[in-house]
């Protein structure tokens, strides 16, 4: 497709291939979208870091900004978006680069696996060509070498009869196989950082397990850093070293995976965990619900953004936005005035229960909170 272009690989210092090195550093990233109603603050002041070979899970409800965050880091935003803040990838500032410079990073350094394998492949291009396209643009390979590499890639993502698949079209493959192809395309040029944006949401549960296994296998082999975006806490629990929970465009809790599940501090995380139906519960177990819905991101509330739905809410939460503060465990950050599991939090919940605050009662008993529209 793009013939005769110079080889496009972004130069990256050799020491970035060492495991454990800081690969990504995001500082106060804000992505706002211009809409007729006003500015939508889709990502509002997110900072995070990621080391080589590690996996970060990004969790939250739809509309919380988790996909926009990964697209902001990639630089894949529509023209209505305004992005501020620092994105440092392997000591290079990505945020100041234009699309032309970023092209050298896409594919070779940063790659993305999208949610829907049906729509992220070109339906009128053979599987082989979709993989070799980026190889021919970014590397010195000629056609035959690229084809051999594509074949090896298809085999490495465990596609049976890889040779035959090269000449097939996407519609001839099942959903799981297509997602394997999408992963092969993303891995073709050996990226350092892979964004997997809900890679298994469109797939069946047995296929989901296979794809997640494949991703972690490839990650280990390539010492790649992965950002795993998902709304499913079950998916991220077993596959990440660190989890960031997002709510209304902000990170509200971030911790090493083990710590997040054992020492929840943010009421939102607790509510999310409680609302998931679990296999170990007997059937007809009442589920805890989170009443209401996320705030309007055009005009977010002055205080804590979760306050209107929070079982622990106190007057202070409505007025003052809590900062992202560090818990006792190092690396555990949360954004709450009355954190779960602390005396202040317990007291706040008891006060709300005594005052018969609906969301507090709903959180405890799982009773239906009547939604006002």
């Amino acid at each position: 497709m793009i013939r005769g272009r110079r080889r496009r690989v972004a130069p990256v210092a050799a020491d970035y291939h060492q495991p454990g090195t800081r690969l990504l550093d995001v500082n106060d990233l804000k992505t706002y979208f211009r809409t007729p109603r006003g500015m939508v603050r889709a990502v509002d002041g997110v900072s995070l870091t990621l080391d080589r070979g590690k996996t970060l899970g990004l969790v939250g409800e739809s509309g919380c900004g988790k996909s926009v965050l990964s697209r902001s880091i990639m630089g894949l935003l529509p023209s209505t978006a305004e992005r501020t803040g620092e994105i440092i990838f392997a000591s290079e500032r990505l945020d100041t680069m234009g699309p032309e410079a970023l092209r050298d990073y896409w594919g070779t350094q940063l790659a993305m696996v999208f949610q829907d394998p049906m729509t992220s492949l070109n339906p009128v291009m053979r599987i082989g060509r979709q993989i070799t396209e980026s190889l021919e643009v970014h590397t010195d390979m000629d056609k035959n070498q690229a084809r051999d590499t594509a074949l090896a890639l298809l085999r490495s993502v465990h596609i049976p009869e890889a040779e035959r698949r090269l000449d097939q079209y996407p519609h001839e493959l099942s959903g799981g196989m297509r997602q394997r192809v999408v992963i092969a395309v993303a891995l073709a040029c050996g990226p350092q950082l892979l964004f997997a944006d809900e890679p298994t949401t469109a797939l069946d549960v047995t296929v989901q397990a296979q794809i997640l296994d494949l991703l972690s296998e490839q990650q280990r082999e390539r010492q790649m850093a992965v950002v795993l975006v998902s709304h499913d806490l079950g998916v991220v629990a077993g596959r990440t070293q660190e989890i960031a929970v997002m709510y209304a465009g902000q990170i509200v809790e971030q911790a090493p995976t083990q710590v997040l599940f054992s020492e929840v501090r943010m009421p939102y995380t607790e509510a999310l965990l409680r609302s998931v139906p679990r296999l170990e519960n007997a059937s007809h177990t009442r589920l805890a619900v989170i009443g209401g819905r996320p705030p309007d991101l055009i005009d977010p509330p002055a205080g804590c953004r979760f306050a209107a739905r929070c079982p622990y809410v106190q007057p202070r939460c409505l007025e003052e936005q809590p900062p992202l503060q560090e818990a006792d465990t190092p690396g555990h950050l949360y954004r709450c005035w009355y954190p779960v599991g602390t005396p202040a939090g317990t007291e706040a919940l008891e006060r709300n229960l005594a005052a018969q605050l609906p969301q507090a009662e709903a959180a405890v008993s799982g009773e239906l909170a009547v939604e006002a529209s």
Binding site: S174, L272, H284, A288, S373
Partner: protein, 399 residues
């Protein structure tokens, strides 16, 4: 897996829906047929929730829609309150329809965007000319109130003004307004966020208790189905594999497919490691050309030659637990009991195709060493998913 038979059907009087030998075929082009639902039987007692689980393409939605005669099944009977819906047509069938309602997966696309919510929920009443306009309005308000929406606020609004969860509530209100006996919920929470999903699941439980509803709940999410069901039927490629009470099914699955499904579920707890891979290698075979014998055998770690020849019949392996498998994980076969003679059962199993259940009982002490070998071999030969055809293990197994 290829579950046929009716051993799991109950004889009692309070069975509201009884589906027997349901077959749904679609034309597959070039004279072939897609065998979407192949000889499925199930029953639902009054005020019970039956969960139908399975991967996409296993025929769970098709089976449920065949109950509604949308489209009518190729063969089989659907007894609803004792009346056979497959035997009636036209107006007679239409008069049965208010009794059975359906809630679809995508709440936004199943509501007409140009109508107000009051119109949408009131439409079934208008069509059936129930009551005066004032009575209808009262009925609509009651239904909206029952699903947790304020009628005063919502009545004049249109679907786009609501979130996905609220739209699903509107769909449920519309299904409720005719006071049906049976509601079929086809993946009602799959398109919703976890927090909203919990609200809708709780709502369905409340409504079931309040109106004495019977539910058929279709989903691919095993955790959801466990939460809502009184009985769970696991489907695979148009057949029922296993049917049991949820607590029993999840504690000790009898069918290898159920076990594989359960172990694939990601658990929201980092201390639990899912040992998923290898259990079900590969994709669903095509329903255009389903495997012979047991339909699950091409992905089954315990498959034997017998599975390729003989279709397993549904039988009871434990109290209230029915399974269609020659070598179930629960019941008379002790999977860990390793016995020497491995050649014997394969030949006798193949010959004794006619002896069905009793043959299964006789041959069981010898068989286990076979399946455990196959379990080791099959996944290593076909890493993570050679599908049906041309995989190395297949020739031997297909016999």
């Amino acid at each position: 897996m290829a579950g046929t038979g009716t051993a799991h059907l109950r004889a009692s009087d309070d069975v509201l829906l009884r589906v027997e030998h349901l077959v749904v075929n679609f034309p597959g082009g070039r004279g072939r047929t897609v065998s979407a639902v192949a000889d499925v039987s199930f029953d639902v007692a009054e005020r019970e929730t039956l969960g139908l689980v399975g991967e996409s393409g296993c025929g769970k939605s098709t089976a449920a829609r065949a109950v509604l005669q949308l489209p009518a099944p190729t063969s089989g009977t659907v007894l609803f309150s004792g009346k056979d819906l497959t035997a009636v047509r036209g107006e007679k069938l239409r008069t049965q329809r208010p009794q059975i309602q359906i809630v679809f997966q995508d709440p936004i696309s199943s509501l007409n965007p140009r109508r107000t919510v009051g119109d949408i929920v009131g439409a079934p009443l208008r069509i059936w000319k129930r009551g005066t306009p004032a009575e209808r309005k009262a009925k609509v308000d009651e239904a909206l109130d029952a699903v947790g929406l304020d009628p005063e606020i919502t009545r004049e609004k249109r679907p786009h003004e609501f979130s996905g969860g609220q739209c699903q509530r509107i769909c449920i209100a519309r299904a409720l307004v005719l006071e049906p006996k049976l509601i079929i919920c086809d993946e009602p929470v799959s398109a919703l966020d976890v927090s909203v999903q919990a609200q809708i699941l709780n709502l369905l439980e409340d409504l079931k208790a309040r109106y004495g509803l019977t539910l058929v709940f279709i989903t691919h999410d095993l955790a959801v189905v466990k939460n809502v069901s009184d009985r769970v039927a696991v489907m695979y490629l148009g057949k029922i594999c296993e049917i049991a009470g949820p607590d029993r099914l999840y504690a000790s699955p009898a069918h290898p497919y159920t076990a594989a499904l359960l172990s694939s579920i990601p658990v929201p707890d980092p201390r639990v490691t899912t040992l998923s891979s290898g259990l079900v290698p590969g994709d669903l075979p095509s329903p255009l050309d389903p495997p012979s014998g047991c339909r699950f055998r091409t992905r089954c770690p315990r498959a034997q030659e017998r599975c390729a020849v003989e279709q397993p019949q549904i039988r009871e392996v434990a109290d209230g637990q029915f399974v269609a498998c020659h070598f179930p994980l629960v019941g008379e076969v002790a999977p860990s009991a390793e016995v020497q003679s491995a050649v014997q059962p394969t030949s006798s199993g193949g010959n004794g195709a006619g002896t069905e259940v009793s043959g299964g009982d006789d041959s069981t002490p010898e068989t286990p060493s076979g399946p455990s070998d196959a379990a080791v071999d099959a996944p290593s030969d076909t890493p993570a998913g050679a599908p049906t055809d041309a995989s190395s293990g297949d020739g031997a197994r297909a016999g």
